[in-house]
């Protein structure tokens, strides 16, 4: 048992507090202003993972947080170390991911003097953190860290940054954990809705003939997966999911419609447009899921359940807002909702699916071309029996993954939704693997995004992590090319992408690799990777100008989708 009070340096206090917050791993990169903290690491049981770029550290912390729901921690030095974290912090902010970023800062006497490697990182990150701290005295460190963890993970989670001056790390003070208990009188994340709101919500639910649940990331954050399923089953209301909501309800569940939005299946978006009631559970009506707001679900009443009051009526005017923790709110609603026979509504939705099946590229016979959809579909078949976490980057492959990988478990998909950060996947997968060593972790990444953070391959090797990397390589910045194809008269400006030989690159890192061009090679190679005792990289060289269908163009209504031409016709053109 450690003594309650001891005189310690700020640096020692930092690690001591992290340990007491339950931190086992931190992702970081040392430098001058954070050196006192690194020097004190020898006294700590925390495992430090050396990254290759501080952006990677933040994505790893983010991946760690998304895989577990626990707070991920990244650490860096002042100036460039801190500014390199900005993209990762903004990514975590947009997707409400709880991370704590610790940065060194120049000595407090030098603040504001443009000292070497000085950046006002609390100023820089003000709009992209949930909260941040500049700590200039060692006695302020413990309260700041405790508050930071509390703020990061409570309410609507988000990133918190703690900037610690060098002298605050070096100075000593009495360390008192108990006295550092967070006392944030300006922070009360435990709102609950008024009674009348519940009554009104129940009325709308009972009146509705064509209701749809919109399931978002908030379900994961709240831990309300079972409640949402129970609610859907009891009321027979079908469930459409956002990208970050995938996995909250099993893909195979008979009420699960699949992903909505810009690249959602046609029947899902059409269902939403036809609905007379939308129940938004922990989602925020992002422009990627609503399409044009003017004619979004025009006949639907809306009930919005969210923990963040600032989300209510932000994009879509709602009829009832239930502000608070989704799980608690569903516990209130569940015993009071009445069962309804909604066979007619469910059957009419089912009727919409036939048209999509005809256009599904899955139904295309093997014509010698390798389509990303096939790779993803095979990946799903090969990994579904095992506890697998798929971490995707941003772009076409991300949408194909969302369409063709059927997620059955919560937290089995980790992806950058709100910010759409290319380069996210590889480092986030490292974080996920560190958090869940017994899960199979698969990176699904484009050739563009991979090259943004591929330096982290070295981190994988140094940490001896078994991460499987599937590069969906089409030689283009594919999603941008797709937009150029549709909206810029096929002017493929700056989207053809030259890549190194990824297999040789993997060799240079000492990572096993394979190149796949044929559909018949996909499954054996995936198996090889999964069973190989170590990381493996597979370069899937897929059809270059394939397109993600269906697509709701920016500014179009949700039901106005660009559909995949009938694939049989496409094959004829090919030959």
């Amino acid at each position: 048992m450690k003594a309650q009070k001891a005189t310690l340096t700020g640096a020692r206090i930092l690690w001591e507090c992290l340990e007491r917050e339950g931190v086992k791993h931190v992702f970081g990169y040392p430098g001058g202003a954070i050196l006192p903290a690194y020097d004190a690491l020898k006294h700590s049981s925390i495992h430090h993972i050396l990254v290759r770029h501080e952006q990677g550290a933040t994505h790893m912390a983010d991946g760690y947080a998304r895989a577990t729901g626990d707070v991920g921690v990244a650490i860096a030095t002042s100036g460039p170390g801190a500014t390199n974290m900005v993209t990762g912090i903004a990514t975590a902010m947009m997707d409400s991911s709880p991370i704590v970023c610790i940065t060194g800062q120049v000595g407090s006497k030098l603040l504001g003097s443009d000292a070497f490697q000085e950046t006002d990182i609390t100023g820089v990150t003000l709009p992209i953190t949930k909260h941040n701290y500049l700590v200039t005295r060692s006695e302020d460190l413990a309260p700041a860290i405790r508050e930071a963890f509390y703020v990061a993970k409570s309410g609507r989670p988000g990133p918190v940054l703690i900037d610690i001056t060098k002298d605050a790390q070096q100075g000593t003070c009495e360390f008192d954990w108990e006295a550092a208990t967070p006392r944030l009188r300006g922070y009360r994340p435990d709102l609950s809705p008024a009674k009348e709101s519940y009554e009104r919500a129940l009325e709308l639910i009972h009146e509705a003939k064509r209701p749809v649940i919109l399931a978002g990331h908030g379900i994961l954050v709240s831990g309300a997966e079972h409640e949402v399923q129970a609610f859907a089953e009891r009321t027979s209301i079908p469930v459409a999911l956002t990208l970050l909501g995938l996995g909250t309800l099993q893909a195979s569940h008979f009420l699960n419609l699949g992903m909505m939005g810009m690249h959602g299946e046609a029947w899902v978006n059409t269902t939403i447009q036809q609905a007379d009631l939308l129940l938004a559970f922990g989602m925020r009506f992002d422009d990627r899921v609503t399409g044009n707001l003017k004619n979004y679900a025009p006949n639907a009443k809306k009930i919005h359940v969210d923990i963040d009051p600032a989300e209510i009526n932000k994009n879509v005017k709602v009829d009832v807002a239930l502000v608070g923790d989704l799980r608690k709110i569903l516990h209130e609603l569940l015993p009071r909702v009445e069962m309804r026979d909604r066979r007619e509504w469910l059957e009419s939705i089912h009727g919409l699916k036939g048209d999509t099946a005809v256009r599904d590229i899955q139904n295309l016979p093997d014509n010698g071309h390798l389509y990303a959809a096939h790779v993803i579909n095979d990946l799903w078949h090969e990994t579904r029996e095992h506890e697998s976490i798929i971490v995707t980057d941003v772009g076409q492959h991300q949408m194909w993954e969302a369409q063709y990988y059927k997620h059955e478990r919560p937290r089995s998909l980790i992806t950058s939704g709100g910010l759409g950060t290319m380069g996210f996947a590889l480092p986030a997968a490292i974080g996920a693997k560190v958090a869940c060593p017994s899960s199979d972790v698969w990176v699904v990444v484009g050739d563009g995004g991979f090259q943004m953070t591929m330096c982290e391959l070295a981190t994988i090797v140094q940490e001896n992590l078994k991460v499987n990397i599937a590069i969906i390589n089409n030689g283009y910045l594919g999603m941008v090319r797709q937009w150029q194809e549709f909206f810029y008269e096929k002017n493929y400006e700056a989207t053809p992408l030259l890549s190194p030989d990824f297999t040789k690159l993997a060799d240079a890192f000492g990572i096993r690799s394979a190149l796949v061009r044929k559909r018949s090679d996909v499954v054996p190679t995936l198996r090889d990777s999964r069973t190989h005792d170590g990381p493996m990289l597979i370069d899937f060289q897929v059809e270059q100008e394939d397109t993600v269908y269906p697509m709701v163009a920016a500014g179009a209504a949700l039901h106005e989708m660009i559909r995949r031409p009938n694939p049989l016709v496409e094959t004829a053109e090919d030959e």
């Binding site: 300006g186 994340p189 709102l191 923990i307 963040d308 009051p309």
Partner: protein, 182 residues
């Protein structure tokens, strides 16, 4: 339309910049902002006037609440309240004009703070309209320099904002200083 918000914040470094940064980043237009101490040494109070419709105003209140250091937000628009702005006006007033200026100042119940051979400096407290009115009649004499504090506001009656503030329509605030950050 203009909305007037009374905001209680923790008196800590950087809090003003957090509030201002929020307005900038969410593209809300600040008409005026004042900040000063309150009856409690650890609490500062802001009066923020924003140009927003009712829906926007509700979103602004909700977003301001999200700042960890914000204790309370009270939208007093349309409520019985006292609103005051203070201005110093340096007006060109040579020997002949001086009595006219003094006359106008007394009509507006403004006070003379400084007299110089070529100018008068006047202090006026009042609603923004009243100050605008005085500026208008003084303009022909030559406005040499004007400074205004921006609006401060307080509810009328016995109840302070701490007892009447509502967080985004979710109900009254019970204890003295609480917040609805998430």
């Amino acid at each position: 339309m203009l909305h007037t918000l009374v905001v209680y914040v923790e008196n800590k470094p950087g809090v003003l910049s957090r509030v201002v940064s929020l307005f900038r980043r969410r593209a809300f237009n600040i008409d005026s902002l004042t900040v000063g101490r309150t009856e409690k040494p650890d609490v500062s109070r802001m009066t923020i006037v924003v140009d927003a419709d009712d829906d926007q105003a509700r979103r602004i209140v909700a977003n301001v609440y999200k700042l960890i250091n914000v204790l309370l937000v009270d939208d007093i628009t349309g409520e019985p309240a006292i609103l005051r702005d203070l201005a110093f006006i340096k007006v060109g007033a040579t020997h002949q004009a001086r009595s006219h200026v003094l006359e106008l100042a007394s009509v507006f119940r403004a006070r003379v703070l400084d007299v110089a051979p070529e100018s008068l400096t006047i202090e006026i407290t009042g609603t923004e309209d009243k100050i605008d009115g005085l500026l208008e009649v003084l303009r022909p004499f030559g406005l040499l320099e004007v400074v205004r504090t921006g609006q401060v506001a307080m509810r009328r009656g016995a109840k302070p904002s701490t007892m009447t503030a509502k967080a985004n329509g979710t109900g009254p605030v019970d204890d003295d200083t609480v917040s609805y950050s998430v």
